[in-house]
Every structure is written in structure tokens, then in C-alpha cells.
Subunit: 349 residues, 2 copies
Amino acid sequence: MGSAPRIALDAMGGDVGPAVMVAGAARAHQRRGDLQFLLFGDEGAIRAELDRHPTLAGASRIVHCDDVIAPEEKPTQAIRRAKTSSMGRAVHAVKAGEADAAISGGNTGALMAMSKLALRTMKGIDRPALAALLPTLGDNDLVMLDLGANTECDTQNLVQFAVMGAAYSRVVLDLEKPRVRLLNIGTEELKGTDELKTAAAILRDADYLGMRFDGFTEGDKISRGDVDVIVTDGFSGNIALKTAEGTARFVTDLLKRAFTSSARSKIGFLISRPATELLKHHLDPNNHNGAVFLGLNAPVVKSHGNANEKGVANAIRVAARMVREDLTRKITEDLANIAAHGDAQAAAK
Amino acid sequence: MGSAPRIALDAMGGDVGPAVMVAGAARAHQRRGDLQFLLFGDEGAIRAELDRHPTLAGASRIVHCDDVIAPEEKPTQAIRRAKTSSMGRAVHAVKAGEADAAISGGNTGALMAMSKLALRTMKGIDRPALAALLPTLGDNDLVMLDLGANTECDTQNLVQFAVMGAAYSRVVLDLEKPRVRLLNIGTEELKGTDELKTAAAILRDADYLGMRFDGFTEGDKISRGDVDVIVTDGFSGNIALKTAEGTARFVTDLLKRAFTSSARSKIGFLISRPATELLKHHLDPNNHNGAVFLGLNAPVVKSHGNANEKGVANAIRVAARMVREDLTRKITEDLANIAAHGDAQAAAK
């Protein structure tokens, strides 16, 4: 793949639409001038935004589409408009080889369904997974997957998620040998479902993969910073991710209440504002924006629906990085390694 | 059941042992002087603590046991010492009718195994569940179950958890008609596993029970305060509970870092101390201590291993309340209502 990523951007997705999506693209383009954009959506609206970003305009082409997938549409219905909607056409541009990665801030289920249908699941992967970066107390974010693409998962799904998550963390977090753990309800070997126990046994034995498998972890240890990739089924992953988001909001809401509870604490708040701004910055989802679908034949990134310009730029950077580092090829190699290892083991018996 | 609850307390359980457990009992007894205690464990150690709490000593009897279950022991091993250990004998005192409820701060798995064996599961309940109170932004805490007793749950388990959780919240939160929801990865009817969808259909139809079933909820809405009982399988419940604990600690750790990052923010912190103390108070697990096993023929409460004196007193208060309000009978009545409703429906067909 070339070194100048071509991004297919659904300019209509997200709560705000073209204004934020185009501004985000401009911000990403400002940092990496080699990015190329295909912008899908209402030509007039996109043109108006592009006029405010002339440098980006020079690196972009608008593809007009009337049709937009609504946030509440069912994937089974949305998919019928894969060839007309801004989301569907952005994905299709990747299939057709006109772009290297697709990004949308729209309906997650619809984006997943369209991406699977158009780009197909990689050889060696049974089911694609949704992965995202989460903040930690450590030196870097962590990768967590699956976050809701697969409600129920078997052993092979979990092992494949570990391989994909490790490859992704090597690319986006710049780690040589990420520390991988399976999310469970205890850290002892006997805990959890049979699927988890068998997946742990397979991964424990997989030293030849570019990861260090450290066994199980629990919900209260997610953000401690001693693990780089957390692997789980989509049901538990979605519950954990949303519970973490909700609790962070809960604590900051309590804090706000506390700080406004008296004149004294209001003054304290004003003085310590740089401190609370630091906290806000660390917890701002826009700094960790861009959930990725792993396991497809090309990168697709889901930007958060209410991401701001910075959040969209981050999602674009994640996509560009996956293209530059050729993540899809890296996952393929790891899967081949597992298969070869299995063959070698069988031959040795 | 009488109005003066007799509490069987495993004085050796928890990270500290007799010092905290006895002090907690004294604190609970100070508030409700009618409580009676059986204290199980090392007689010398308990006696030394009781000497500091003469009023409690007058309402207590020590039952000496040499044997203590260790935190890391497997339930299958611990259970062999049900008749010798302080934990096992506390549970057994309830079975023998010498006490009305048992409390331990020790090994959760062992306590569950011993309680199930000695006290048996209630008629109409397939599997007991572990329930706890969680803080919210609303007027009251919420009840969440199952928190880890059952890794996999079927539809009937979930429906029974809803009945038990609703009865428990009526008793401990003093609610007339608690708002009940099932934890899921989306709020649309189509989301989630078949077990969840079927359980929702049964509960939606169960207006005659003392609850209001409001459908599904998601991880990010747990602490908003618009639901009183959240029902889930033990795997997801454990992940959600621990993720919430971990995230709350993560945010407060970040806050501490931020507040100590400069002289200015340190001063701000000192001034706004009453505000941050308020936050600390709200998040202190000791204010919500006492996970209960629901579905057994008598109340058993698990106090958190590192609970302080206040936490233990709270666990005792929860147990006493379950005894006074005769929770076991209330759950039995609700289950009979479901059965009668089922029969009436069948007859009407």
C-alpha cells in the first residue's frame, strides 16, 4: 500500500454532520499534508465547509449523495441503501480501490453491516470485532475489544480478537510486545466460562506471536495501566466500556455538585481550575476517538457520534496509521503463524 | 420472625478480623439496642475486643472456633470445614435456629457454598444470587444482581433475580414499587441474547408483581438514578460492578494527581476540601457495604473484606433489616403470585 493514505469520509455521519466532519479532516490534513480525501454527502453543504479550508479543498474530492442513514435505522434496512447513502458509498469506495480506509460518525450497526458485506471478513477471521482505545493511569492508552459487534463468542473468536488487538496496539500504540489479558470475573485459572479457559490455554502457549499473554484481568483493573490489550466478548465488552463511561461521568458530576455546594468550594474550584481542566482533558473521549472494525480486508473507523473536530481528526489519524502500517497484512501474518504453529505441533505428534 | 434480630457474626473474616468486626457490631448495636450477637472465632481475641465495648458484650455470646477459612481457599476445599470454621459455624447457627442471619467478611465463594449447603435454596428459586447496593445521582442507591454467583444464566434465573431484587429493594430502600431493568447492550427490544429478550417479555407482562419493569438499560446509565433494580447474569454483573469501582478509583486518582500537580492547585485543593470530602463520602464503599445472598432460606450477608467499622455496621444493619421485614417470606409470596398468574393464564386458554 502507498504511503499517502486516501480516506473515504462519510461527511453526513455524526450528530452535527459536514461542519464537524470537514473541520476534523482539515485538522488532520494540517498535521499530515499527504492525506487525500473523498468526501461523501450533500455537495452544497460540503462545498460550503470546504470553502473555509482551502488547503484541505486541494486534497479533496466531493462525491455527492442525497441519501443519509439515520442513527436509529436498523442495519438490515440501512444495508439496502449501501449504494446510495453517504455511508455506504464511502465504504464502497474502499472496496473499489478508490480509497484505503473508510470513516463514519453514523449508525454503528449499519456501518458494521455495510463494511462486512462490501469488504468481507479477512481469511482466518471468523468474525470482525469492534476495538477502541481507553485511557489508563499508565504511560499509554489500552486497546479493548470486542465492544459489541458479537454478543456471544466462542474460543476461536476470543483467540482471533487477541491476535487482532495485539497487532492493532503494536500499530497505534507503537508497542513491540503488547501485554494481553482476557477479561474475566477472577484471575484464577479456574474462573469464568469454558470459552475463556480454553482461549487462555491457547494464548498461554502462543509465545511466538508478537504479544505477551498475562492471563485474566478483572473489571476493576482495566485502567491501572498494566495491560495493553483487553480481550472480551462483545456483550461484556460493551457493558464494561459503557459502565466505565457512565462512572467517569458520574464521578465528575458529583465533583461538580461538590464544587458548587458552597461559596468556599467555588473559590477553591476557580483556583484549582488548571487541575480540573487536566482531568477533563484526560477523560475527554475526543482524545481517544475512533473505534475500529478489526478483521475486515480494509480499515473502517467509527468516529463517535458526538465527537468534535479534534475527535474526528483523531479518528482520521487512527485510520491513516492503519493504512500506513498496513495493519491488515500484519494480522494476516500473525494468523499464518498460528496456523503454521498448529501444523508444526500436529507434525511433531 | 421476632423483632429482635439475632446475628451470627464470623468475627475472623475480613482483612483485619475481630478488631473491625467487633467494633462494627458495637456501632450497629449502639444504634439498635435490640440486636443480639453470636460471635464466632478465637475466644481470646474476641474477648479482648468485647472488653472495649461493654454494652455490646452484654448482648453477645462468643462461640470459640480455632479454624478460619483463608481468602484464597477454594470453596470446594473450604466446605469440608463447614462444621469447624468460624464462617461455617456462623452459617450453621442460622440453620440450627440459634440466629436469624449470618455475616462474614471472608472468602465470598466459600461463604456462598456453605450457605447454599446449610440453608438451601428457597422453593421456587433455581439459583441464589449475589446483590449489592450501588450509589447513584438520584435520591437512593440501587440494587444490582447477580454480581458473580452465576456465570451463566437462563431466562428463569433472570426473572427470579428480578423478583428477589425488587423484594430486596422494597425492604432496604423502602420503595413501594421499584423500577426494574435488565442490563443489556442496547435499549431496543431486539438487542441482546435470547435469554434477555424472553425475560423482558415475561417481566413486561408481570404488572401484578410489586415492581415496575422499564425494559433494558445500558452500562452508562447505571448510576443516573432512574432505576432501582438492575438485573443481569453474574458474569456481566461482576464485570460492571468491578469496572464501576475501578473507574471511580481511576478518576479520583487522576484528580489527586491533578491537585498535586502545582502549588496553585494544591492551595485550591485545600480550600475546596469540604467539597472533595463530600465526593469521598459519596464514593466510600463503606457507605454501601453488605452484599447479600438472595434466594436462600435465611439472610446471609457478605461484608467487604476491607470494610472498616462503619462498613461492618452497615452490613449488620442490612442483615437486621432483612430479618425484621421478613424478606424471605416476601420473596416466597411474590413467587407464589407468579406461579398463580401462570396457572390462571393456562386456565384461561
